[in-house]
Symmetry: C2
Subunit: 417 residues, 2 copies
């Protein structure tokens, strides 16, 4: 089945927001085995929406709309499609009751102006909206299928994942559904990972193996069409095993989670606590780890030592390492080791990770942009260090230093490092 995604909203045409809905739906439709041939964005204008429907019908069997289901007069998607199909609209009673409950206390005007959110085109099935009021519409007419979803991603995504995809699976029958596993890698670039797996990626047609770039990480989706989960697992397993065998050192999860979450899980599983000492990453590693709910159980805290005085006072780095002729300086393996040991001791943690380097735009201490040292201290052992030479702009180097240092910690936690 060929699909076209039609996003309706003048705010998209003005560049006020970015069309993340198109990306989400493209991925989600691909997972269902539906090919997206076009994405279109059109403004809040009934005649242009009708033209977009006409154009899309000539090149796709499934039209997925986002936006234009809200209460205001600018919300025109459903009206435009009803007019195009020559169909009436009727109230969906359960949605109307939700609206009355929400706005009943505020008077009849509020209920009336929100009434539009309860409308269904004749013949359409309602799609439940757990995060908002506007009901979704799903209908088929004259060989074309129409799915009308709300614009706000927090409403659109759950509606698509529950009622929307169920309706599409119903259209397609059981055999067509796609099953996939997302593999997440760190410590290796996208092209290096592709080189490592190039014959698998090229020759493999079922399951398919497709790389995705994520910020500072790489992901690979392994997918097959199967009637059920068991058949899917049997088809996917040989490809998964081949990838595991070649890239074990970089494959940190067989599900779609970021590296920091894999690190937090490892720490929790091994009942270990962690502290940090960050210079060039400036708090980015701490920010990543504390974004994971439950991180407080294993992450104790850290020091952002953005000047030498803080390295000395809070981490106990001796002045002779930092200053004077012949001193290794702030960006050195020696300083990274002492920073990690200092952070571990200060927080009384089982482990500590340190990062010191040059993020740019200018070099520092006569050292080049992109030179980064990572230290890893363990209770009762001397710290180990690693040297990284990273490329990119300031933000890119900070992100890569964050991911690479977390990857080194993950290797150590899983006994691979």
């Amino acid at each position: 089945m060929r699909a076209e995604i039609i996003a309706v909203g003048t705010e998209l045409l003005l560049g006020q927001i970015v069309n993340t809905n198109a990306q989400f739906l493209s991925q989600a439709l691909a997972e269902l085995g539906i090919d997206v041939y076009y994405q279109t964005v059109v403004g809040d204008n009934e005649s242009r929406i009708r033209q977009a429907i006409e154009t899309a019908r000539g090149r796709a069997e499934l039209l997925v709309f986002t936006g234009g289901l809200g209460p205001t007069l600018d919300d025109l998607t459903r009206d435009a499609l009803a007019a195009y199909l020559g169909r009436e609209q009727r109230i969906h009673e359960p949605t109307m009751r939700k609206i009355e409950e929400r706005f009943g206390g505020r008077g009849a005007t509020f209920v009336e102006s929100n009434r539009r959110q309860a409308l269904l085109i004749d013949g359409a099935e309602p799609l439940r909206n757990d995060a908002g009021l506007a009901v979704g519409n799903a209908l088929s007419a004259d060989g074309t299928h129409y799915l009308l979803l709300p614009g706000p991603p927090r409403e659109m995504r759950p509606m698509f994942l529950s009622d929307g995809s169920a309706w599409l699976r119903g259209l397609m029958g059981p055999a067509a559904s796609l099953h996939s596993v997302m593999l997440r890698f760190s410590g290796i670039g996208e092209s290096a990972l592709e080189d490592l797996l190039i014959d698998l990626i090229r020759e493999q047609t079922d399951p398919t193996i497709a790389p995705y770039a994520k910020e500072g990480e790489v992901a690979i989706r392994v997918s097959t069409k199967a009637a059920g989960a068991e058949e899917a697992a049997r088809r996917l397993e040989p490809a998964l095993q081949a990838i595991r065998a070649r890239a074990e050192r970089y494959l940190y999860a067989e599900e779609d989670i970021p590296l920091e979450e894999a690190v937090i899980r490892q720490l929790a599983q091994k009942r270990l606590t962690l502290a940090l000492a960050e210079s060039c990453t400036g708090g980015m590693i701490a920010t990543a780890l504390t974004a994971v709910p439950g991180s407080a159980d294993v992450f104790l805290g850290g020091v952002v030592s953005y000047c030498n005085a803080v390295k000395k006072r809070l981490l106990g780095v001796p002045p002779e390492l930092l200053e004077g002729p012949g001193a290794p300086g702030a960006v050195s393996a020696e300083t990274a080791a002492v920073m990690a040991e200092g952070a571990r001791a200060a927080a009384d943690a089982d482990l500590a990770l340190s990062v010191t380097g040059v993020a740019g735009p200018a070099g520092s201490e006569g050292k080049p942009v992109g030179l980064v040292y990572v230290g890893l201290a363990e209770r009762g052992k001397p710290a180990r260090t690693d040297k990284l030479e990273l490329s990119g702009d300031r933000e890119g180097i900070r992100i890569r230093a964050t991911k690479r240092s977390l990857h080194l910690l993950w290797l150590s936690l899983t006994g691979r490092g």
Copy 2:
């Protein structure tokens, strides 16, 4: 002039990347006074690209393409347009020399395979690519204007901003060009700011006043069409003054910079140094500040105190504040004050900012999700504190706590707080 933006790339239709180019170009075209009526995404397929051109010509006078100018056989945008127009392509010699310089040492095959990036459609003007190899194409034929830009944003953006927009200004003549000022606000929500300025936004037609939501902040663009910068300034000034008078407390910059950059500039201007003590923001304030190049001159460092032991050891928070019956606890004004004073003393900074709160998903110490205390310590003075009640999910609360605490610091630095 009506425009359509056509992004070419199968990776967009698979949802592997999000179409940020469309947002960038929509904003940039609006600034030039060009209305975008449609955005389209089409795959790397010559016949579908030609169909997209045909459709777009029926509804726009300017077609702006991104993607498909690279060296591979999947890069088909220029070929498709040349075939559609029935025109030949020729080599752009300066680009070819760049390619020979880059790849000459690697052999004739490399030069040959990259040769496609130097092609211009007959009659097209070249658009310089400072960040890559593929030359841009700009041409007019049969009443339609075509602008062909590369897909990678780091190549596309500078090409559009220099040669691309110059070519468009040439098409439109001097009178049509749009001048605008971006005003950035913090410490106030989008709807509250709109309420404050609602009559200006509604009644003002020249200059226009349009709100934009940024992550955790709000921006307003004030725009007018004028023949030159001087005339533009004269037209814009009354609207700017009216906004300044109403929203001075929130208006932190009259250019498009984030709040953290405004804070770093204030610190540098006043030759003051800053330290941080972060609990619930987990390093996010430090990450934001250190993203600004030159921040090392004024930001000394900080402590991420994610457990009470670190609050005690590194910040000197007395145990009786944190534990025991009747203690105010980690999330309290008292603890925020001592954290700020402790961070200031530890780093020997002029100022220190502290944040402690409940980011969720669960409450803590019997306190609700979203409760956050901010402390601000100054050398020689007792710390001041503020209480925030924030809404949103864990990440939203962390972002809002970061922005609100930086806004409080900015108010203090500018004498408004």
